[in-house]
């Protein structure tokens, strides 16, 4: 025996080396190094080093590690072999998170896109939804908002509801999340799964119609102890510039002309009107910002007095006065590790985001601890708790036309009005007793009254008012899991998310809605949701070829929101916003809202020989939103997949690694009746609103009619797709077709106003979305030193309404009609400008001598009321998606995510407002310089004329523009410090990076927030922020 061993030793040699991660360059512990076709094997140590004896004649070493691609190296004469292992994420071998568990993507029958932590590591995003844009086919993401802490909206495979939510269900660590996604620290997130079809979502039953976004937080990795530090420090600024507006020198003559044109009549000649306009225009605009007399600002030929110089040129930029250099600091330290039996992940995060708009910020402390342990070989338990504290000042953009909305005010104010008071004669700043400048509230002197936003001042109001909240969120997930009879697993989960929110508002005594009394208010609520479920899993492989996987479950969901609001007015002493410092109660109210769902569900998957898989899901939900006789509904799906590459009859070319066909069909539902005000928890009941007291007498009045037959909206979803991996997994991708049909829509059916109630919620109406989505990813160039990876996705879909409660319904810029899509614009048809008189012309409904003319064969009108409406295109793009280019050279990686949208229309209402034809004091777009001025002028901008904007700038397809855009959503440049250096520093890995979010938006018009909504409309909102950051990821 010993002789034999000695002989074996004599014939072998030692091979040593280090195994590193191909992406991070970090040494990999625990990698198995195995001599092929023998039992000889060795693990790597903490630094990734190994040593193994191989026969003198060599052999082949196989390096394996879970989640990484195997690597084989022929030893030959080498004695040192260093290898790097590539992560397996691009193949389909990683598990994906799906409803109530995980799935093997190799056989999974549903449609799911998973976004891993590596896609999030360098993103300076406060709200995780920002990281979804452009990453998944079939997913549309809006532009979002620059409001610190906010995230964009998401639509998965089109729209399913007309009146109610189209947002997906957000599930965090297995439980529908009620706390708001800005409470999650991006660094804590391990993966985001987007579930798109019935096979993947049916287990969420009555909440699954709009798809499900599953967010999973990090767990500790076994066999290591690791400390990570992530630090990001950045600056933020406005990503989309303001619209191009005329300056003061251009503005005065334009307004003069608008007024002059309105004076011309049968009895007043143009010359007389010009004379009067020159005399009156200052009186109408209120301010003379120039160093020339009031009646000589604009000459009688309509040009600005050549001597006119601005008296307060440095004090006209309201946008600048509201803007600052924003900043963003984001730090997380985390510990993770584990032993054979237990694992843990603990993190602490601090985020401080100062928006580019003054008085808007978001400060967040977050902590998380996730511990799992196998107490015995049959009992496992874990707990995952998190706590978040947020303090935030919010910009007051709640109303898009509110005087307190900084974007509305600064966009709309004419370019002649100063921020501070000036001496009308000299232009000098007026100073107060302390020598400070004084805000000009628009009526500071009898000779200076501002006709636009009179008595209001956005800078003063933003500075002097408060609008802030403080929010505590506690979340916990815990489970116990028993494995028994070998193949069974029984799991009990309990989860709670508890939000305590306190909002404080204060409106000052000097200017604005609170003046002169001063007002203060509080909103407090506690939002608590519980989910408890019990799951029984069975998993068995028989005879090596039959794999059966089954799940049975029961779940209770309960959400309650306890709400209090109160406000008082009449400030007693200054600088104290506590309510006892105010004298009069304006309102004081509380309520409790509850929502509950109880469910039974099951799923079964059967796979034969890794080739054929069939699956079926079923869920029965009872919802408290509906009347007891009808509240239980059933939801289901069936699906199948076929691994073509595993077939023996199919001689696959050797460049094909994997081909999978799959398809699913099922019915899911939507019971979400919340439409912003959250009042629809009791929709089946006929209700009277309490608290409608008549002076001191108690009172209530009719609110809703109720509908005892009301049930969930149904969505039938078909999906068929192919997934493939080619060229040794260098290229992989998928192509899918989907058709989602919604029926029995939850519809706010309009009632005759004469019934006294405007609408009632009924199940009526139907529509479908069908489309195709593609994804292709691969290494275009791949050498040892350099890799160029391109990951592209592309989606196209159509929406069509097939049933409505009435033939058609006009709503804003849209008209709902069977056969049209939900986002189809219904607008007057703009014809152009009449060269004779500068009128705006619209295609006419009928010929009417008083307001119409015939041009060629077209009957046109200059009276907007006679303008003919037509369908003028849709807000749904022809196609959209995202692409990511990643270039890696040695340790340097440059990655750029660009989202795109092609086709579709955008109704630029903000531009339309700036193209008004004479609102005294209102700002104007530069395009107004191209207006019609004299008979014979050929232009597409009608004449200026005060009081005629309704006709000259009526809502029409004139304001529609191509909605195509290209958004450089995220670019990052990172560098991995080489391993030898990090080892010397006793660090496992050091990665430094520079990153930019929202670097550039290319669209048809400067200033246009083209992706603000999915309906192709825009308003004065907090324009998205551009964030430039430097970052460091460090682990030891």
């Amino acid at each position: 025996m010993s002789a034999f061993s000695t002989q074996a030793l004599a014939q072998s040699k030692a091979v040593t080396g280090r195994v590193t991660d191909a992406i991070t360059g970090e040494g990999m512990p625990g990698v198995t190094v195995h001599l092929k076709e023998t039992s000889t094997a060795a693990p790597t140590d903490e630094q990734g080093n190994y040593s193994i004896n191989v026969p003198a004649g060599g052999g082949t070493l196989v390096f394996t590690f879970i989640g990484y691609l195997n690597k084989e190296v022929t030893v030959g004469s080498q004695s040192t072999i260093n290898v790097s292992l590539a992560s397996d994420s691009k193949t389909l071998n990683e598990v994906v998170v799906v409803a109530y568990g995980t799935a093997d993507p190799a056989t999974y029958t549903g449609s799911v896109t998973q976004i891993g932590a590596e896609k999030l590591a360098q993103r300076p995003v406060t709200n995780i939804t920002n990281a979804i844009a452009g990453q998944a086919p079939g997913v549309q993401v809006s532009a979002g908002s620059g409001q610190p802490g906010s995230g964009p909206d998401i639509r998965i495979r089109g729209f399913s509801s007309v009146n109610y939510a189209n947002d997906p269900l957000y599930v965090v660590d297995g439980v529908p999340y009620t706390a708001g996604l800005s409470n999650l620290n991006t660094e804590d997130i391990a993966s985001i799964s987007v579930l798109k079809d019935a096979a993947s979502t049916a287990l969420y039953g009555s909440r699954a119609t709009n798809g499900v976004v599953m967010i999973t937080t990090k767990k500790g990795k076994k066999d290591r102890v690791q400390v990570n530090l992530r630090a990001l420090q950045g600056v933020s600024s406005r990503a989309i510039p303001e619209y191009e507006r005329v300056n003061a020198y251009e503005y005065y003559p334009l307004m003069w002309e608008a007024y002059r044109n309105s004076l011309v009549s049968a009895t007043v000649t143009r010359a007389q009107a010009s004379q009067r306009a020159t005399a009156d225009i200052k009186g109408l605009l209120g301010y003379n910002p120039f160093n020339v007399p009031n009646n000589q600002i604009v000459l009688q030929d309509g040009t600005l007095n050549p001597d006119a110089q601005l008296l307060w040129e440095d004090d006209l930029d309201w946008e600048k006065a509201l803007t600052r250099d924003g900043s963003r600091s984001d730090y997380t330290v985390s510990f993770n590790g584990g032993s054979e039996k237990s694992d843990y992940y603990v993190s602490l995060g601090y985020l401080n985001e100062k928006g580019y708009l003054i008085k808007s910020d978001f400060e967040r402390f977050s902590g998380r601890m996730n511990v799992n342990t196998n107490l015995t070989n049959w009992f496992k338990a874990g707990v995952n708790i998190n706590y978040t504290l947020t303090n935030s000042n919010q910009a007051n953009t709640g109303s898009s036309t509110g005087f307190v909305n900084p974007f509305f005010f600064s966009r709309g104010i004419g370019p002649i009005y100063p921020i501070y008071q000036h001496d009308p004669a000299t232009g000098a700043y007026v100073l107060d007793a302390n020598g400070e400048r004084v805000y000009d509230l628009g009526g500071s002197s009898p000779t200076m009254t501002r006709p636009v936003y009179p008595g209001r001042h956005i800078v003063a109001e933003t500075e002097w008012n408060n609008y802030l909240y403080r929010r505590n969120v506690f979340g916990g997930r815990t489970y116990g899991e028993i494995t028994f009879l070998k193949d069974f697993k029984l799991t009990a989960n309990f989860a709670a998310d508890i939000t305590n929110y306190e909002e404080q508002t204060y409106e000052n005594t000097q200017v604005g809605d609170g003046a002169p009394a001063g007002r203060a208010g509080r909103v407090l609520y506690n939002l608590t949701s519980y989910t408890a479920n019990q799951l029984l899993n069975y998993n068995r492989t028989l005879a090596g070829v039959h794999t059966v996987d089954a799940l049975l479950g029961h779940e209770n969901y309960s959400r309650s929101r306890d709400y209090l609001s109160g406000s008082k007015s009449g400030e007693v002493i200054a600088d104290n916003t506590e309510l006892q410092n105010f004298s009069t109660i304006n309102n004081f109210n509380t309520y409790l809202q509850e929502h509950r769902i109880e469910s039974y569900f099951g799923r079964a998957n059967y796979t034969f020989n890794d080739k054929y898989t069939v699956s079926a899901s079923y869920r029965r939900d009872g919802s408290s939103r509906f009347y007891k006789d009808v509240r239980w509904g059933s939801f289901w799906s069936v699906g199948g997949s076929w691994r073509l590459d595993q077939e023996t009859f199919f001689t696959k070319p050797n460049w094909v690694d994997m081909v999978k066909l799959r398809s699913s069909y099922g019915q899911v539902g939507n019971e979400n009746l919340e439409n912003g005000d959250g009042s629809q928890y009791y929709a089946w009941q006929a209700l009277y609103t309490l608290g409608q007291n008549n002076a001191a007498e108690p009172g209530f009045s009719q609110a809703t009619l109720g509908n005892r037959g009301l049930v969930w909206e149904k969505n039938n979803s078909f999906d068929a797709g192919i997934e493939f991996a080619l060229l040794k997994n260098r290229l992989n991708g998928s192509a899918e077709y989907f058709k989602r049909t919604s029926e029995d829509l939850l519809f706010e059916v309009q009632l005759p106003l004469s019934s006294g109630v405007a609408n009632r919620i009924e199940n009526v109406g139907a529509m479908y979305n069908q489309g195709v989505e593609l994804r292709l990813a691969g290494d275009i160039i791949k050498t040892d030193a350099f890799t160029w990876n391109l990951d592209v996705n592309w989606t196209t879909f159509k929406n069509k309404i097939t049933k409505l409660p009435y033939p058609e319904l006009v709503s804003g810029t849209k008209k709902l009609k069977v056969g049209e899509d939900l986002q189809a614009f219904w607008l007057r048809e703009y014809y152009g400008v009449d060269p004779e008189n500068g009128n705006a012309l619209y295609r006419a409904i009928t010929y009417n001598e008083a307001n119409s003319k015939i041009i060629g064969s077209d009957t046109v009108t200059w009276n907007a009321n006679n303008g003919r409406f037509h369908y003028a295109g849709t807000a749904i793009p022809k196609f959209s998606g995202g692409f990511t280019n990643t270039f890696s050279f040695k340790g340097i990686t440059l990655s750029a995510l660009v989202t795109y949208s092609v086709g579709g229309k955008f109704y630029d209402g903000q531009y339309a407002t700036l193209m008004n034809h004479g609102t005294y004091g209102g700002a104007m777009h530069k395009d107004m310089l191209d207006r019609w001025q004299n008979p014979g002028d050929i232009t597409d901008v009608p004449k200026l004329q005060v009081g005629n904007t309704a006709n000259l700038a009526a809502a029409s397809d004139r304001w529609l523009v191509d909605a195509s855009y290209l958004n450089f959503r995220s670019v990052s440049l990172s560098y991995n410090i080489p391993a030898p250096l990090t080892t010397r520093l006793k660090l496992r890995n050091v990665n430094i990076f520079a990153t930019g979010e929202n670097l550039a938006l290319v669209s048809k018009r400067k200033g246009m927030n083209v992706a603000q909504t999915f309906s192709g409309t825009t308003s004065a909102v907090y324009v998205p922020a551009r964030v430039l950051s430097l970052g460091l990821n460090l682990s030891l």
């Binding site: 009549s265 009992f379 509230l441 009254t449 006709p451 009179p454 008595g455 116990g480 028993i482 028994f484 009990a492 003046a515 002169p516 009394a517 019990q534 029984l536 029961h554 209770n556 009069t584 309102n587 004081f588 509380t590 309520y591 509850e594 929502h595 769902i597 109880e598 919802s623 408290s624 007891k628 928890y681 009791y682 009941q685 006929a686 209700l687 009277y688 609103t689 309490l690 409608q692 007291n693 008549n694 002076a695 001191a696 007498e697 009172g699 209530f700 009045s701 009719q702 309009q750 009632l751 005759p752 106003l753 004469s754 019934s755 006294g756 109630v757 405007a758 319904l809 006009v810 009081g947």
Partner: protein, 496 residues
């Protein structure tokens, strides 16, 4: 063994946690179910108070829809005696006669008017038709139903005046009025004729007067009693040119109301308190029921600090003002120089600006809104008597005007001249209280804003530059709102 126990525990948890039936039963805490409302007269009374409150709630989330107070502003904005300082603010479209003629918008005043009064009718119908099984004192039930009937009548009256062509006595008024809603239904109803609508209004008022007569004191002046119901009946009769009925009911209302005319001191105290002895019916507002910037006083008072008041204080027609004798206390309600107006800080002191309406506390926009004053009843009585040629007319007028102007001499005019004098008194007495458009329409008069202190730029009606609307043209009728036409196919739109 342990494993089996744990499994059993978990399994039983799974079974038993499928909770009791009540788990899915939830109910709101800030609302009451309809069954509950109709179960007792106590709750019925609360639902009636809900209607009173509708008169000063915000509607449609709109800043210029603060209930009946806003409807009153609309009625004056359409006329010629209510003059703006600046025409780019709230009520500009109403003043320009485009708001009530907009067939497509849901934010214009035809929509506001229509929905507001039908909400009142719907709330009233539930009480009128549903209290049969309610527990509680019979007298209370009678009061609830009686008041609800007055509401139903009054709301129909407001509607038919706006949407129907004017009622003409002496003919069958077969022109289309508005849908008559006397039961709760969501089925779209056709327009009843103007005649039918007035018949129902009178039936409801007569029934209500019967129910309310002999009941104890009403809880507050926001409620109706028999006297107020008679006052409304008098208004209706005046509009129907049924002079004898108008005169008789006005007189009965005067006698039974217990109201007395204001003293001169009271007259200039701001028209903001329901405690005023001259008010028969009014909405009382409390601080914790503030209606912020949609309140009547946020537009119509002289001293509340809203943008609308600072920049666009309301003024009186200068021609009308100049006819008021200097000895008349009403002359003090406006200031031809503007100097004496107690404007909020930064406010414009406009010539001919009003100071009739004042908020009691400049920090709050609230103020009680008068819906019926004794003065109106004297004016109704006087006009109805004058139109019948009765000699008592000048006396009825004298009772009122002598209380305003100690120098006033009993009128010796007769015939149309006397009627004209009464109508002049009506314009100055009821300025800003929501009568002008309805008076122009019922008397089939033209609107004429020429030659007054209107700023032509902003005072046009129908089309830019036009300051006159002839009597009887189609624009005197509100257009039915698009939201009604969308789903009520039985409605015929007024001529566009």
């Amino acid at each position: 063994m342990k494993k089996t126990i744990y499994s059993a525990l978990l399994a039983s948890a799974m079974i038993f946690s499928s909770c009791e039936k009540e788990y899915l039963e939830t109910a709101p805490t800030n609302a009451v179910t309809e069954e509950n409302v109709l179960s007792s007269t106590k709750n019925g009374m609360a639902a009636l108070n809900g209607i009173h409150r509708i008169l000063y709630l915000q509607h449609n989330g709109s800043q210029n829809q603060g209930g009946e107070g806003s409807m009153k502003i609309m009625m004056d904005a359409l006329g010629e005696d209510w003059v703006q300082t600046l025409g780019t603010s709230w009520w500009a479209n109403e003043h320009n006669w485009t708001s009530h003629r907009n067939a497509t918008s849901s934010t214009t005043y035809n929509h506001a008017w229509y929905y507001f009064y039908y909400r009142i009718i719907a709330n009233a119908n539930i009480l009128i038709n549903g209290l049969d099984n309610a527990t509680g004192p019979e007298a209370e039930k009678q009061m609830i139903i009686g008041e609800a009937l007055v509401y139903r009548a009054w709301a129909h009256f407001q509607l038919v005046q706006a949407f129907g062509e004017r009622y003409e006595a002496g003919k069958t008024n077969s022109q289309l009025g508005v849908p008559l809603l006397i039961t709760s239904t969501t089925e779209g109803q056709p327009r009843a004729t103007v005649e039918e609508v007035y018949t129902q209004i009178n039936t409801d008022l007569d029934t209500a007067i019967g129910l309310l007569t002999g009941l104890g004191n009403r809880p507050a002046k926001s409620h109706f009693n028999a006297a107020v119901a008679k006052g409304i009946k008098a208004r209706v009769a005046l509009t129907m040119q049924n002079w004898p009925v108008a005169a008789r009911f006005a007189q009965e209302a005067i006698q039974q109301s217990g109201a007395t005319l204001m003293s001169r001191a009271q007259y200039t105290s701001g028209f903001n308190s329901v405690e005023n002895p001259e008010w028969l019916w009014g909405s009382k507002m409390q601080a914790d029921q503030t209606n912020y910037f949609y309140s009547f006083f946020a537009y119509m008072s002289a001293n509340y600090s809203s943008t609308a008041i600072r920049q666009n204080p309301k003024k009186i027609n200068s021609v009308l003002y100049n006819q008021i004798p200097a000895t008349d206390v009403r002359k003090a309600l406006w200031d031809p120089t503007g100097a004496s107006i107690p404007v909020p800080a930064g406010g414009v002191k406009a010539p001919y600006g009003q100071k009739k309406f004042l908020v009691a506390d400049p920090n709050l926009s609230i103020g009680d809104v008068p819906h019926m004053r004794l003065a109106e009843l004297y004016l109704i009585q006087a006009e109805a008597e004058a139109r019948q040629g009765l000699a008592s007319a000048a006396g009825s007028l004298f009772t009122l005007v002598s209380a305003r102007d100690p120098q006033y001499v009993r009128s010796t005019r007769t015939g149309q001249a006397l009627v004209d004098e009464i109508l002049f008194q009506r314009r100055i007495e009821l300025w800003g209280e929501g009568f002008r458009f309805l008076d122009l329409k019922r008397t089939n008069s033209a609107l004429d804003r020429t030659g007054k202190n209107h700023i032509a730029q902003w005072a046009w009606a129908l089309t830019g530059g036009n300051l006159r609307v002839e009597a009887g043209v189609k624009e005197w009728q509100f257009l039915f709102p698009q939201a009604e036409l969308n789903v009520n196919k039985a409605i015929v739109q007024n001529p566009l």
